[in-house]
């Protein structure tokens, strides 16, 4: 962008509205384009201060005829004179660096965000922009943040001057805004402080001489501002840890020796663009190995297998999940993926956080050759890429690459704890300490804190600020403390944060969208009652199904009942079967705050001791929940099924139903099995069971997979809510009854909405696994058991899994199923325009099209499917955002992510509680070896559903005498306790001692297994 030579003219259109032109030059693809846009300036933008008596006169209503709300308090926080009562204006750099601090409930009240700052923030970081917007939206009564549209205000708009850079102009605009506010509010005794970390901006504010009737601007850096706060001591720790250059003036002065950079600099943008175009650089997401934090892989479209990145230097400060640019390394450095296990918490434990300059001697030991400085021409690089693709086809050696730039950081807030040995217990002041993160794929973070003592043994949240080339570890700052390690609250909160689950209570705005009647809400007694019709004209399109004998079957203690069923014999001998799903979309209307919240949460999260709802309790457990004995709105799928369970006819309708009974799986089973029960409801349930068995058989014949996961359930003591015992999940016939009909409903709905909205139907697919995923497992099966898994089709896979039987060990089959589940692709939500019809296939269920429709209380996908189905049957028009590919794409991405996170969070919760259970009872259990490494083995214990690594050090005293055979998946060593020579193969059944230990470095409890 460059300055325009001609000053744009202004034209007054009417009183209070002036138009000017915004002119700028945009360069793209080497060409320059002159962009001219209209820019309207107005005088009706209010200051939004409650103290102001002038602005309420000028405001105008918006499209909904609402007037803007005046938010800034007329009694803002007071500082000692000369500042006194004040509002705060923020600069862009403060928002970008310290958004956590802005969200802190104990500081920053009555804040004005100039529009130009908001724009700059949005261009720099969209997530921060969203957080800032949320802050402005939800902080009415407490924190009072507002956006002031200075760019559209005639009094505060500044034109860019000749030869002025865009940044300087924006800074000037911010100062002008402050000046305007200061003058505007002078008579009410309220001052304005500009908080900025930009020294030049501060200086400019102080040197510019204001007009005679204007006062000088008050500016503060973030540090200076926080110093003025009454609670500054607590807040100071939360100030971001900026690059040493910035806080040098404040903290360091001793360390002025220019340091040797540890990491290579990133390439320039121009070089990256060129490289990507020429095909010598590649872009992809880094996936750090679960077992070795110094090894990552990048999946690139042009390579059949992921490319390896080995070692700290080659990873070049990339975090797990970052989007990076990589460059292939010369062939001499290609290698097989390491067979070493390495996690960051035990690596370089003795590094000193204050020492910036330690050359680590052990890098070479670990096979980390620094970046090679061999110059390779582009032509050679392309040849290299060809070699690399060929090399991947052969087996062992994999091409390696190094990171040359990071296009997008995946940084978020992380949970961790302070490494105790990095804390100097003598000094009480500010010190550098290491924080070890819960996610073991990530490096340690260096933070500065003055509360290191208090924070020991606490789970803390930190945020990462930067990772300069001369720092061995990234720099971060403390955000808040969650509570003591191993306290249930802290651990639960930690894992929710770590999996990015929104768990805060619903905001006021969201709760306002609920029906005003609250729990008193009732479905209208008659659908033709004119009074109810007047309230809800759509009522006429509902069907009254209250005469049907409907019941629900759920896990015991279920309160959010999504689905209910009924079956009735028709005169022609066929069955009428109905699946009734809670009509959530009746309450969650498109475009409301409630809908937005549901969409962003995406799913409910089930933890062992807690449920994080997607929708407020009132809906989830009462108004939507299909509770027995009361009238509820439902969305019904009604089939006519013949005795062979083939669909004769299907019909969809919104309805009102009355469930006769809510069964648990056991109760339903008992009722069906009890020959004395012959009432119509039980008969219906029996029919449902018979039909479901036929449906299941048909599905299995089509090649549906029967996979397994080592899932367990933790029983809680109902009084003390301490974890009691662990149980492997059991399945009853009634589980499968419900499941089959839900699958049928989902498939029928998927077909219907795809038919009505071929481009944007909300669907779910499950891709066939690529054969490479199964390579290792097949190799292991072949070597050890002479079995194999066929991947030709899902049918072939299902059959070959059935054949993987070990007559001596019935569990072996389950083990293979568990291991093959891990080789599968994850199912995903998508909109129908994103893939072609053949790719809609759900591999696991062996159906051509599938969606989620049956649990709208706990999944947002179902909510969308409900709306689309309602649109498809003409119940109500479908809103635009579910018909727009881009918006559907955003929804799908979000719910895929949230769904994955929810699963991980649930598993992590179980893992934690299993650890707590094991803590109390140490036992010897049977386990299975599922992986063999050079320096350890991974054992799965089915009883607890835990798997753990047994390190070589714990297997044997003589680690050098151990022998690892990669081809045979065998590890030989002298057993530690018995002193005998032992051979461990993969799939071996072993006795292990299970106990749970607290890791002294990370203070994480994990299952420790010891080979017996």
């Amino acid at each position: 962008m460059s300055a325009s030579a001609i000053a744009p003219r202004r034209k007054r259109l009417s009183d209070g509205l002036t138009v000017t032109q915004k002119v700028f030059i945009r360069s793209r693809n080497g060409g320059a384009t002159k962009i001219i846009r209209e820019h309207y300036l107005r005088t009706d933008i209010p200051c939004l201060s409650m103290a102001c008596t002038k602005c309420p006169e000028i405001v105008v209503p918006d499209a909904e005829n609402n007037l803007p709300k005046f938010i800034l308090s007329n009694d803002p926080p007071e500082f000692p004179q000369p500042i006194g009562k004040h509002y705060v204006v923020l600069d862009t750099n403060i928002v970008l660096q310290a958004i956590d601090l802005l969200e802190n409930p104990d500081c920053f009240f009555d804040v004005i965000i100039p529009q130009i700052v908001l724009d700059e923030v949005r261009n720099k970081s969209y997530p921060v922009y969203t957080r800032l917007r949320t802050l402005c939206r939800d902080s009415d009564d407490k924190k009072r943040f507002i956006v002031f549209h200075n760019e559209f205000n005639e009094n505060t708009f500044v034109e860019r001057e000749k030869d002025e850079s865009i940044n300087d102009r924006n800074d000037r605009a911010i100062r002008k805004t402050c000046q305007w506010y200061a003058n505007h509010l002078k008579e009410y005794g309220i001052n304005v402080i500009l908080v900025t970390n930009d020294r030049l901006n501060r200086e400019a504010a102080e040197t510019t001489t204001p007009n005679k009737d204007e006062e000088k601007l008050i500016t503060k850096s973030l540090m200076q501002y926080v110093d003025l706060l009454p609670n500054s001591e607590e807040i100071k720790d939360l100030i971001p840890n900026l690059e040493p250059t910035n806080n040098q003036e404040l903290i360091k002065s001793n360390n002025n020796v220019s340091k040797e950079p540890i990491f290579p600099e990133y390439y320039s943008t121009a070089r990256i663009m060129g490289g990507l175009k020429n095909g010598v650089l590649y872009q992809g997401n880094v996936q750090i190995s679960e077992y070795n934090f110094l090894e990552g892989t990048v999946s690139l479209p042009s390579f059949s297998k992921p490319v390896l990145i080995v070692g700290q230097k080659n990873l070049n400060r990339a975090f797990n999940g970052d989007q990076v640019i990589v460059e292939l390394l010369p062939e001499s450095e290609w290698k097989a993926p390491s067979t070493i296990v390495l996690d960051s918490e035990h690596f370089n434990v003795n590094d000193n956080p204050d020492d910036d300059n330690n050359e680590n001697a052990d890098t070479t030991e670990l096979g980390i050759n620094g970046t090679s400085n061999i110059v390779i021409s582009d032509k050679d690089r392309r040849l290299l890429a060809k070699h690399a693709i060929e090399a991947q086809k052969e087996k062992k050696v994999q091409p390696t690459a190094r990171v040359v730039a990071i296009t997008r950081r995946s940084w978020r807030q992380y949970v961790g704890q302070i490494a105790p040995n990095s804390v100097d217990l003598q000094t009480g002041g500010t010190q550098n300490v290491f924080v070890i993160l819960m996610d073991k794929c990530l490096p340690k973070i260096r933070i500065r804190t003055r509360r290191a003592h208090d924070l020991l043994d606490k789970r803390i949240v930190i945020s990462i600020d930067s990772w300069p080339t001369d720092q061995k570890y990234p720099l971060g700052h403390f955000v808040r403390d969650l509570g003591g390690i191993e306290t249930a609250e802290a651990e639960t909160e930690a894992l929710l944060l770590e999996h990015d689950v929104e768990y805060r209570p619903f905001s006021k705005k969201v709760l306002e969208c609920l029906p005003a009647e609250g729990h008193e809400w009732k479905a209208p007694a008659s659908l033709t009652d004119p009074a109810s019709l007047a309230k809800d004209p759509l009522l006429a399109n509902r069907k009254d199904l209250r005469d049907k004998l409907i019941c629900s079957i759920d896990p015991p203690g279920c309160v959010d009942i999504d689905d209910a069923l009924h079956a009735k014999k028709l005169p022609n001998g066929n069955w009428e079967v109905g699946v009734h799903i809670a009509d959530v979309t009746h309450f969650v209307k498109q475009g409301t705050a409630l809908d937005a919240e549901g969409a962003s949460r995406g799913t409910s999260v089930y933890l062992v001791d807690k449920r994080i709802d997607m929708l407020p309790m009132l809906l989830g457990t009462d108004l939507c929940s299909l509770k027995p004995y009361v009238d509820r709105f439902a969305f019904s799928v009604l089939w006519e099924l013949d005795s062979n369970a083939d669909i004769v006819k299907v019909d969809f309708t919104k309805s009102v139903i009355k469930s006769r009974e809510a069964f648990s799986y056991e109760q339903a089973q008992l009722r069906i099995d009890d020959p004395n029960q012959t009432d119509d409801l039980t008969q219906g349930m029996r029919a449902l069971l018979q039909l479901s068995i036929k449906l299941k058989q048909k599905r299995l014949d089509n090649g549906a997979l029967n996979l397994a996961s080592p899932e367990v359930k933790v029983h809680m003591d109902s009084e003390t809510s301490d974890p009691g015992e662990v149980e492997i999940k059991k399945l009853l016939a009634t589980n499968s009854l419900v499941e089959e009909f839900m699958l049928l409903a989902n498939i029928s709905v998927a077909r219907k909405i795809y038919d009505a909205f071929p481009q944007t139907a909300m669907l779910r697919r499950h891709a066939a696994p690529p054969s490479t995923n199964f390579e290792l497992l097949n190799e292991m099966l072949h070597r050890r058991k002479n079995m194999s898994i066929s991947l030709e089709s899902s049918k072939a896979l299902a059959d070959s899994l059935d054949r993987c039987e070990d007559p001596k060990d019935p569990y072996f089959n389950t083990l293979v199923r568990i291991m093959s589940t891990r080789c599968m692709m994850a199912a995903q939500y998508f909109y129908s325009g994103a893939y072609s019809y053949p790719d809609f296939k759900h591999y696991g269920l062996a159906v051509d099209i599938y969606t989620h429709f049956t649990s709208p209380i706990r999944r947002y996908c179902d909510v969308v499917a409900h709306r689309q189905l309602a649109g498809a049957i003409g119940y109500e028009p479908l809103s635009l955002s579910h018909r727009d590919k881009n918006k559907m794409d955003m929804i799908c991405r979000n719910i895929n992510k949230k769904h994955r996170n929810a699963q991980f969070a649930g598993r992590a919760s179980i893992e934690y509680y299993v650890g707590q259970v094991m803590r109390n009872n140490e036992t010897v259990e049977t386990g299975y070896v599922i992986k063999v490494f050079n320096n350890g083995i991974v054992v799965l214990v089915p009883k607890f559903g835990v798997e753990g690594l047994i390190r070589l050090e714990n297997l044997t005293r003589d680690t050098n005498g151990a022998n690892f055979n990669e081809v045979e998946f065998k590890l030989n060593f002298v057993h530690k306790e018995t002193g005998k020579e032992r051979e461990i193969y993969v799939f071996d059944k072993v006795e292990v001692q299970v106990k749970s230990v607290l890791d002294p470095v990370t203070s994480k409890r994990k299952a420790e297994l010891l080979l017996k």
Partner: protein, 246 residues
């Protein structure tokens, strides 16, 4: 550039207008008195349009003669430099332009008293010098002005306007940024009535929102009609003054 705040929570649009505000509207007539029988130059925001009306005149070929009424022919020339980036090829025979011409002819056939001019041809040429969204509405306005300048009998003004729908908020007189970001409709309103002589819906719009969209569109079109009327009257006064002074 992609994720713009099309309509901010504070109720302001990308260019600083509120939801129900028109863009700058400036027009003049009789701008090309030697080249045509009626002409107009219109700036609606950054849409800049010259319209020339030639006729009623004798048709160039026999086949065009209609013994009952005049033939209306409209050609739209969207110049290659009208957008930010110069387009490589001419727009003349593009499907989109041909469709626009047909729509315009259909709109004006009903509003020009063609039966007064049998056996003649009325030829309208439009040159779009610069475009910035909602072009169809501006074309209607330009033609109306030029036809009046040419003294061709019409029933009433046709004023054109486009309205976008952002979530649930209708936005009046969309510019090009807004036009690409949401669905919009173009209407041509007859005079101060609520009669629509053109309703162009090229994107999907929920039926239950259509009414509010039309309501604000009609209100905007009436404003435009007044602005055009003002310009015509002041122009006429000037001409009358000139004539009488002579």
């Amino acid at each position: 550039m992609s994720r713009l705040e099309i309509y901010s929570p504070e109720g302001l649009r990308l260019d600083g207008r509120r939801w129900n505000e028109l863009r700058r509207f400036e027009s003049s007539i009789n701008t090309h008195p030697h080249a045509s029988d009626g002409s107009s130059y219109l700036e609606q925001g950054n849409n800049k349009i010259i319209t020339l009306v030639k006729g009623p005149k004798e048709p160039t070929s026999r086949s065009q003669v209609d013994t009952n009424k005049a033939l209306l022919r409209i050609s739209v020339n969207i110049t290659q430099f009208s957008k930010f980036e110069r387009s490589k090829s001419s727009h003349r025979n593009e499907r989109r332009v041909l469709e626009m011409q047909t729509a315009l002819v259909r709109t004006f056939e009903k509003n020009v008293m063609l039966n007064l001019y049998p056996r003649t041809l009325i030829d309208i040429e439009i040159h779009v010098l610069q475009q910035d969204g909602g072009i169809m509405g501006s074309l209607l306005n330009g033609i109306t002005l030029a036809l009046i300048d040419a003294g061709i009998a019409m029933y009433d003004y046709i004023s054109g306007i486009s309205v976008g729908l952002y979530d649930t908020t209708p936005l009046l007189d969309v510019n090009s940024l807004e036009e690409t970001a949401m669905s919009s409709v173009t209407l041509g309103v007859v005079g101060k009535s609520e009669k629509l002589s053109l309703l162009l819906v090229e994107d999907k719009i929920p039926l239950d929102r259509m009414e509010t969209v039309l309501a604000i569109g009609i209100a905007g079109a009436h404003r435009i009609r007044d602005l055009m009327d003002e310009e015509l009257r002041s122009h006429a006064e000037k001409r009358v003054a000139n004539a009488s002074s002579r």
